[in-house]
Symmetry: C2
């Protein structure tokens, strides 16, 4: 019998399509190309020499355990290090049993979807919201109810209305209160408290996706939502932005009741996170002045952010607004309503500069007028040159009447699809 592979796929995969943006960016790169697209940490901050020393130490001291299968929860001293850091920074006491080491915080999102979501359950997310979370969770077939994210944080009135509308099916609200991806926005303390108040009235969880927490430009960040909501919070963190993403090490913090189920899912998914990398990272963390290292990353990104803001002010017309982040890696540009960021991206790539268009950060097919710019990878001079190039393309598009191509694209608004970036 001939094989009909398509007929064998699970229902959950039917809504998932390869990314148009990824296709467009396939041609991005080469000499002179300037990328503001990927949310990539700057490799100049990768502690390569210290990681050589750390890897050698753990393999020389205890190869038998470093290279062996290990417990699903993660390397206990690494979990202790994370607990200590929360205690030192925020006075927060997190039992080590409530910390799981994951393959980057992306795996935390997948495990949460797996453990919490039945098809048709509702996830309340930010509008715009992190596309990696939308992708990971979409596989579990929830309905996304997106709540507007503004300069102060989530629109709490809209949040309450969304929760009333979806009463029994809303499993969790997922937010990134610090230096959000894609907008760079940070929630005010009042907004965090108001969100906590709303969550506390319901039988549901808050997922705090917090990979940029350490990247506040002033060195200060607000305490995790767990400070307000205790066991109603699942907190996701990452070593990708403070050490190196290629090691794929993050963490998930949850109450013991949730953790028991998460561990069962983790065991099914891959037994445990790479033990070799966990032990090397832990040795690095306890043998180096990590706080100073993080301070250097903060200062570097602060300077790059400032350079990008200055360049945007210089090169873009006054009618185009953009966010001014207090930390993290991203600036969010709002173009006039008729703009088509996908069409702009196509031409920008031809001019050797890239960014991410807004659509993948929306679950309702909207977002065509936005651009996400990452300033983390380029130095100040390159940022100036890249923004000058990009602004020329943007201005050409805004001067021109809407093309057939752009109009065609805009019709996609009615057909939401999950972009996989």
């Amino acid at each position: 019998m001939p094989l009909d592979t398509e007929s064998l796929f699970a229902e959950r995969m039917r809504n998932m399509r390869p990314s148009l943006v990824r296709e467009l960016l396939k041609n991005a790169g080469g000499p002179g190309f300037i990328s503001f697209a990927g949310g990539l940490p700057n490799p100049k901050f990768f502690p390569a020499e210290a990681l050589i020393t750390a890897t050698e130490a753990v393999l020389r001291n205890d190869a038998a355990n470093t290279l062996q299968y290990a417990v699903s929860e993660g390397y206990p001293p690494l979990r202790e290090w994370i607990a200590t850091r929360y205690r030192q920074r925020f006075g927060l006491n997190i039992p080590v049993e409530e910390i799981l080491i994951t393959n980057g915080s992306q795996q935390g999102l997948d495990l949460l979807g797996k453990v919490l979501l039945d098809p048709g359950d509702v996830v309340i997310n930010e509008r715009p919201g992190y596309q990696g979370a939308i992708h990971a969770l979409s596989i579990y077939q929830p309905h996304f109810a997106s709540v507007t994210l503004g300069g102060d944080g989530l629109d709490v009135g809209e949040l309450s209305r969304a929760l009333r509308a979806h009463a029994d099916r809303a499993k969790f609200v997922i937010i990134t209160p610090n230096y959000q991806n894609p907008t760079g926005l940070t929630y005010s303390e009042a907004n965090r408290r108001a969100i906590a108040g709303v969550i506390r009235q319901r039988n549901m969880l808050l997922v705090e996706d917090d990979p940029y927490n350490e990247l506040g430009f002033t060195g200060e960040s607000a305490p995790p939502m767990r400070a307000y909501l205790e066991d109603r919070v699942v907190l996701l963190g990452s070593f990708s932005k403070i050490v190196a993403p290629g090691m794929r090490l993050g963490w998930l913090i949850a109450s013991q009741e949730i953790m028991r189920r998460i561990i069962i899912a983790k065991q099914g998914a891959d037994f445990h996170t790479n033990n070799f990398a966990q032990r090397a990272l832990h040795h690095y963390l306890i043998s180096n002045p990590v706080a100073e290292h993080i301070a250097r990353i903060r200062a570097g990104y602060a300077s790059q952010a400032q350079a990008m803001i200055a360049a945007l002010e210089r090169h873009l017309p006054a009618g185009i607004s953009f966010t001014r982040p207090q930390g993290g890696m991203f600036i969010w540009v709002t173009l006039p309503e008729t703009a088509d960021a996908m069409a702009i991206l196509k031409d920008a790539v031809a001019q050797k500069v890239s960014f991410l268009p807004g659509a993948p950060f929306f679950t309702d097919g909207d977002g065509q007028r936005y651009m996400r710019l990452s300033y983390s990878q380029a130095d100040e001079a390159t940022i100036e040159e890249g923004i000058a190039r990009l602004a020329r393309v943007v201005l050409q598009h805004l001067d021109a009447p809407a093309t057939e191509h752009a109009a065609g694209d805009r019709s996609n608004k009615l057909r939401p699809r999950i972009e996989t970036l």
Copy 2:
């Protein structure tokens, strides 16, 4: 409102329970303890020094890429290495695009469940079958139809009947034809051809879980099922048994049509596999006499297997049968019908020796009379001592009338549950 966490879990988690066996083994260990339980590679074969050199080389040569985010498919030269090895060993040409690097082959199982299984779909597996696969796939709520595994391989008549009975819902058959876990059995060539013939008549896939392929004691192994069934096969492989499991590196091979969906699932799950470990492993593989290293592991396990077989023959009464593996890490012991391996394990742990009882390898609540013994971790003298201890416990149990405890346990037979090991 008080939080009712239990009410928030997804339906797919309701059948998953923490493992009784894991609980029992929590007290296993300490000085003098002999474990035949875990399927752990022997750490004396971990190439620690060579991995120190390899890690240093990749970090010194290209830290910027080794520590950065990477493509979801895996490090291309590592995928090339895998393709080359299949070409050299079996004359099999596998395009690099059909190879994905996973977090151990366990992640391959999870991705297959995610991409292929709707609740109620049927998975045909071996009876007994690998408990890690049962765990990973169970989360996607299939029905398992288990087909008897014998000395020659799968019972093909039973396989055909199972496929007829489950006509449209059977998505794949999953088998481990080489040195199977838990039995140590290897399929004959005739059996492989017969299985291929059955699969080819239907619109379904064969999943070949093949982590022990390189561990045949003679150095020869049969070609992968892909040689017979081409794009109808998904092949899972692993570096855990030939290099080190702590690095969590395995691979999944599938047709491009399946791979496209698997990649989307992989991106949602964790973006990509640990790049640091992938590059270090690749450098190790191309800079060291890997074939000789694997030959040493084979010879070591062959000698340990022989020692365990000799000890079992010496210490167990004639009525108790066990398998004689041609490779891999496991021996499967069949006790008299009334035996209760869980009760035996409890007493064995008190005598400082352990094994895995059979029940977790069955999906129908059966398996009480079996023991899985792993010979990979202990040297020959330790194996002799451990089997002598274990045989004393077994003999005591077989002499004694069934206890209340054992009878109570046996009633579980009617309530199948997914053991998570």
